[in-house]
């Protein structure tokens, strides 16, 4: 264990399916009360590692720990403190929302008034109270997501593992979900969340990890990842230029510059990575104007999580 405040820990985790290395030596820890965002392209191994953490799958090698308990050796103890929301909803026919939550509350050995309170609180929290008597297999996708989250919360776990919880939610529900997650973190819960929608993650997560082909490529606080100071490779800014006139020629002119990487043209806009300080930025602008390009606007943009993601990953699909 790294220290007693580490609620989730992956320790050299491997999971191979035949030739596919779904998880290939992942190690990191998540502190108590923080939200960790897991990002990666399709097939990166997010779901696989989360399933192992939720004690649903066995690692090929390595181990993962929840509150210091191994998911391989002590899954029973892990299960008490972990709520898992998979990327699917398992519903039963002929069971309504309240009965569904009640069943899982019973399955976690909640009794009497305690159970009723847990069910009410969860329905309240997820906004399912209006649907209490609806059959679960007739719910819409977004409602199912809420039900699934409610189910994961029913036994008041200290660690939450949410696999793409925002998938299929409308914009309002997304914002609500974000607030719910912040609420949960404020209550001291540790959350591991995966998503494709990076803007969402950057607003809700304290730390993010980028995974591709089963390997963890970058981990760090959202700020640190967006403004890397120490790593030379990532000390590049995203610049955006709007031009009047021929963008193609400008792009070619820019590409010839050694400080510029990955120039991309989008209509009248060119964006690229720039490796230099503010003085060099000003020099670049002067040089462009001298070269007779009609620059409409010129500026650096705060690097978003998407930019980091695009930089770090290579879009390889295994």
């Amino acid at each position: 264990m790294i220290d007693s405040n580490t609620m989730i820990e992956f320790r050299g985790l491997f999971r191979h399916f035949g030739q596919t290395k779904a998880v290939d030596g992942v190690s990191f820890g998540v502190e108590r009360g923080t939200v960790f965002g897991f990002i990666g392209p399709n097939g990166a191994g997010k779901t696989t590692s989360m399933r192992i953490l939720a004690t649903l799958d066995q690692p090929t090698a390595g181990d993962a720990f929840v509150d210091g308990f191994s998911v391989v050796e002590d899954p029973d103890r892990v299960r008490h403190r972990l709520g898992f929301m998979p990327d699917y909803t398992g519903t039963y026919p002929n069971v309504n929302v309240r009965e569904y939550l009640d069943f899982f509350a019973r399955a976690y050995h909640l009794r009497g008034a305690k159970r009723e309170r847990a069910v009410e609180e969860v329905m309240d929290f997820t906004g399912l109270d209006v649907l209490a008597d609806k059959p679960t297999d007739g719910l819409s996708k977004g409602m199912r997501q809420r039900l699934c989250l409610g189910r994961a919360l029913i036994h008041d776990p200290t660690v939450l593992v949410l696999d793409e919880p925002a998938a299929g939610l409308d914009p309002r529900a997304r914002i609500e979900l974000r607030e719910m997650i912040r609420d949960l973190a404020a209550k001291g819960k540790t959350v591991l969340i995966s998503s494709h929608i990076l803007t969402e993650l950057s607003e809700v997560c304290d730390t993010v990890g980028i995974i591709e082909q089963g390997r963890l490529l970058a981990v760090g606080a959202v700020d640190a990842i967006q403004h890397p100071r120490h790593k030379a490779r990532q000390a590049k800014k995203v610049m955006e230029i709007r031009l009047i006139g021929d963008t193609q020629a400008a792009a070619e002119w820019l590409a010839a510059n050694a400080q510029i990487e990955k120039p991309q043209t989008d209509g009248q806009k060119i964006s690229f990575l720039f490796d230099g300080d503010r003085q060099q930025q000003a020099d670049l602008l002067r040089a462009m104007i001298m070269a007779d390009f009609q620059v409409e606007s010129f500026g650096s943009r705060r690097q978003s999580l998407e930019d980091v993601f695009m930089q770090v990953t290579e879009g390889l699909v295994q």
Binding site: L56, P86, G90
Partner: protein
């Protein structure tokens, strides 16, 4: 006016007090219901709620009532005016029995099979398996809902059964006995179906399996109907409750039933248990208890039968079969003990050696089977010697026993055991070889034994039939590898065969040889030693202990160790 209002007031006060007592009673009932409901198996609660809303249940229930009604009308019409004089209850009963047998023997067990399979298909099984429910609770919940359905179907048909009783021709104990066996069969089918559903996760195999299950259940249903019709046709309309052997037979049957039921139940639960847990010890304890009960019954029969020698043979053959099947399955366990399972190993070397058979692993399973069979030989020989001694003192006469005959039977049983030791040992060796390529499974171990048996019996037979010189010989020593032919030949005329001494020597040596080859790997498994609980686990255990028993006294330590 004032008077009447006063009386009203008194009345209301009175009714208020009665209301109060009623209310209190009602509240008490309600509270106990809630209390009980909390402790009910969650799966039972959920499935009952589901069943009450499900169409399939309603349809079955409706059909059951409808068929019962149709049969009542048909039956009464067929019997005609005879209904007033003749005792025709038995005929009516058989009809109702068959109508009831269909839901009990086909629908309920198949529901139990589908119970787990459909959870896997709907992906609710994952969600269920990570709750605090233990696998045994999952199995017993599913089983409980099967029992509940049985009870509902039974209650639907019970008025009809009452009707048959009033028609006379069938007595109450017979009705009860038939229903009792029907429920036992239904529970056994459900349990086996549930075990089968845990065996494979892949969709293809599930479909193949479900076809087999339906086929098996329909056969079971057909057999139950045939048995009922036959037994009433023979005029046996009342069960022999005065017969001592009826009760003894039932007691023996129930012992076997309960022990096998426990075995299958625990096996199904073990299938659902996470991989690092010890999934074996509980099952092995049941096997040992079962063996002890079986030995006890056999000894008792032997005593009451004044030492009939054939009982020794029956005892050894059944035990050999039992250990062959169980041992064959046990050799498919994974050889590596998880750290979790190692936490509870016995600490002393002596404990490890003597309790080795209880701990998971193919080698220890082999040991358990061998020990079980050796104990049979010891028991049989001991019984023989005891009988000789007691007989010679004239305390109890084993009139039917002849020492020489009994020894022959024990020798045949012993040969059977040698075969089991040889085949299980060969299977173990093969599986150790297979382990280099893939992880052996219990199913694989079972198939290995089937394959070995087919080779052992088939090859010598083919050789014998293809050799001109031997074609017409009945039994030849070429058949030594074939347990079936050899044992059948030996048992056939129950006498001493001339091949006996040779068989005894060859098979003993072979068994010893195979056993010795396996000893190193078994020893390696026995050498596994206890590992300490991880610190975090010990911490939590201490916390839980404290919650339960209050703060603990610090353990007294010796002044010498620090």
């Amino acid at each position: 006016m004032s008077e009447s209002s006063e009386t009203i007031a008194i009345e209301t006060a009175k009714s208020g007090s009665t209301m109060n007592t009623f209310q209190r009673i009602w509240e008490f009932i309600e509270r106990s219901l809630v209390w009980g409901g909390d402790r009910l198996n969650p799966i039972l609660v959920k499935e009952t709620r589901q069943a009450l809303k499900s169409r399939q249940f309603m349809v079955t229930f409706g059909l059951l009532l409808f068929c019962g009604w149709i049969w009542s009308i048909l039956g009464v019409a067929m019997i005609g005016p005879d209904i007033h004089y003749g005792a025709r209850g038995a005929e009516m009963f058989v009809g109702y029995y068959c109508i009831l047998a269909f839901p009990l023997l086909v629908i309920v067990p198949f529901g139990a099979f589908r119970g787990l399979t459909s959870e896997k298909e709907d992906r609710t099984y994952d969600l269920l398996s990570i709750t605090a429910l233990r696998p045994r609770q999952i199995v017993s919940g599913k089983l409980g809902s099967a029992f509940l359905q049985m009870a509902i179907y039974l209650s639907a048909i019970s008025p009809c059964l009452g009707f048959t009783y009033m028609l006379r021709g069938i007595d109450f104990p017979t009705i009860i006995a038939f229903l009792f066996y029907l429920i036992l069969a239904s529970a056994a089918f459900s349990m086996i179906a549930m075990l089968l559903s845990t065996l494979t996760g892949s969709k293809h195999w599930q479909i193949v399996l479900s076809v087999f299950v339906i086929g098996g259940l329909l056969c079971g249903f057909w057999a139950a109907c045939v048995i009922a019709v036959e037994s009433f046709d023979r005029g046996g309309t009342s069960i022999p409750i005065d017969d001592k052997w009826f009760w003894i037979g039932n007691a023996m049957f129930l012992t076997a039933y309960v022990s096998y039921f426990a075995l299958v139940f625990l096996a199904a639960a073990a299938q659902l248990t996470f991989a690092s847990d010890n999934r074996s010890t509980r099952l092995r304890i049941v096997m040992i208890v079962q063996h002890a009960l079986f030995t006890g019954w056999m000894a008792w029969i032997w005593l009451t039968e004044h030492g009939e020698e054939e009982i020794a043979l029956v005892y050894m053959i059944l035990a050999g079969l039992q250990w062959y099947i169980l041992g064959g399955l046990m050799t498919g366990e994974t050889p590596e003990l998880s750290n979790r399972a190692k936490r509870n190993l016995p600490q002393s070397l002596l404990g490890r050696v003597f309790l080795a058979g209880l701990y998971p692993g193919p080698g220890t399973g082999y040991m358990l089977a061998v020990t079980g069979m050796l104990s049979c030989v010891v028991m049989a020989v001991a019984a023989l010697l005891v009988a000789e001694v007691i007989g010679s003192f004239g305390i109890y006469q084993f009139q039917r026993m002849s020492f020489d005959e009994a020894i022959k039977y024990i020798a045949i049983g012993y040969i059977g055991f040698c075969y089991v030791i040889i085949y299980l040992g060969l299977g173990l060796l093969l599986l150790r070889f297979v382990k280099r390529f893939t992880r052996p499974t219990i199913l694989m171990a079972g198939l290995t034994q089937v394959a070995l048996l087919m080779i052992g019996c088939g090859v010598p037979m083919v050789i014998q039939f293809s050799l001109v010189s031997l074609r017409n010989a009945r039994y030849s020593l070429l058949q030594i590898p074939s347990p079936i032919w050899t044992l059948v030949y030996l048992i056939d005329r129950r006498g001493w065969r001339s091949e006996m001494p040779l068989l005894l020597i060859v098979l003993s040596l072979a068994a010893m040889f195979i056993f010795l080859i396996n000893v190193p790997s078994v020893a390696r498994q026995v050498q596994a030693i206890r590992v300490a609980k991880p610190k975090r686990v010990a911490e939590e255990d201490a916390q839980l202990d404290e919650l339960k028993h209050g703060p603990q006294q610090p353990a007294r330590t010796s002044p010498w160790d620090d």
